[in-house]
Symmetry: C2
Subunit: 136 residues, 2 copies
C-alpha cells in the first residue's frame, strides 16, 4: 500500500514535521521522530503534549519529510503523508528506544532516565501520500 520509496523515507533518520490542528483549527507544528509499524506511522511521546490533545480533538494530521535529495528537475524531494491519528496509551519508552537507534545511533540508551513513564504512542493511518519524489 505504501510505495517503497516512501516507506524508505519513513524508516530513515530524516525528521518529520508533524502538523495537527489546534483548538481553533489552526495548524500546530512540532518536529518528531517517526517509524513504521506495518502500514501505520508511529510517534512516541512521554508526556501528554499539546499535539496529542490536538489529535484526540481532530485526528486529521500531516507529516512532511525533506529527504535532502533533489530530483532531475532540480526540485527538492519531499514526502507528505496525510493521515488519521489515534493516540494510544503506553509503549513510548520502547518505541523511543527503537527510534533512537535510527535517529541517534546504535548503542544509545534512550530515554536517558531510569524509569520513564509509559507515555503514548500515536498511530497514524495513511489516507494519502503527496510531495515531490518517486512516490508522486
Amino acid at each position: 500500500m505504501i510505495p517503497e520509496g516512501a516507506r524508505k523515507v519513513l524508516k530513515s533518520d530524516a525528521l518529520a514535521h508533524f502538523t495537527t490542528l489546534d483548538e481553533s483549527g489552526a495548524p500546530y507544528v512540532t518536529l518528531a521522530w517517526v517509524g513504521l509499524d506495518e502500514d501505520q506511522v508511529v510517534i512516541a511521546t512521554l508526556a501528554d503534549q499539546k499535539k496529542l490533545k490536538n489529535c484526540r480533538r481532530d485526528p486529521r494530521v500531516s507529516l512532511s519529510v525533506a529527504t535532502g535529495n533533489r530530483n532531475d528537475f532540480g526540485l527538492d524531494e519531499y514526502l507528505v503523508v496525510y493521515g488519521t491519528a489515534e493516540v494510544t496509551e503506553g509503549g513510548a519508552p520502547e518505541l523511543l528506544q527503537e527510534l533512537a537507534y535510527t535517529y541517534l545511533g546504535p548503542g544509545v540508551k534512550f530515554p536517558p532516565m531510569p524509569n520513564p513513564p509509559p507515555g503514548y504512542v500515536t498511530r497514524i493511518t495513511i489516507d494519502r501520500i503527496s510531495g515531490v519524489g518517486p512516490w508522486t
Copy 2:
C-alpha cells in the same frame, strides 16, 4: 520584533515546510523557498496553486524550518512561525530570482524561462514564533 536567530534561519537556504488549511480545514503542506521582507516572510509562486487558494479562504498558516543543528540537550533545532498570509499579485519572478541566489547559488538564472508570468507573492505577517532554538 523577530529574534535575530529566527531572522537568520528565515534568510538561510533551509527549506520551509509551509502549511495551509484546505477546503475541509485539514492541513495541506508543501515545501517552499522563503525570504524576509522587513518583518514579513515572503514566498513566490508563478502559478495560482492550491496553497494560494487555501490562504485566500483561511489565512492562518505555519512555516517550519529544521536548521540541521542540535542544541546542548541533543534536541534538533527548528523554527516554527505562525502567521497570517496575504496573497498579492505580481512580483514572483523577481522574488524567485532573489531567493534562487540563496537556495541554488550565485549566478543562477531563475525561473529558467524567457518570459515568466507575473505570478503571486504571499506575504506572511508573523503572529507567533515557536520550536526549539535560541528563539524559544
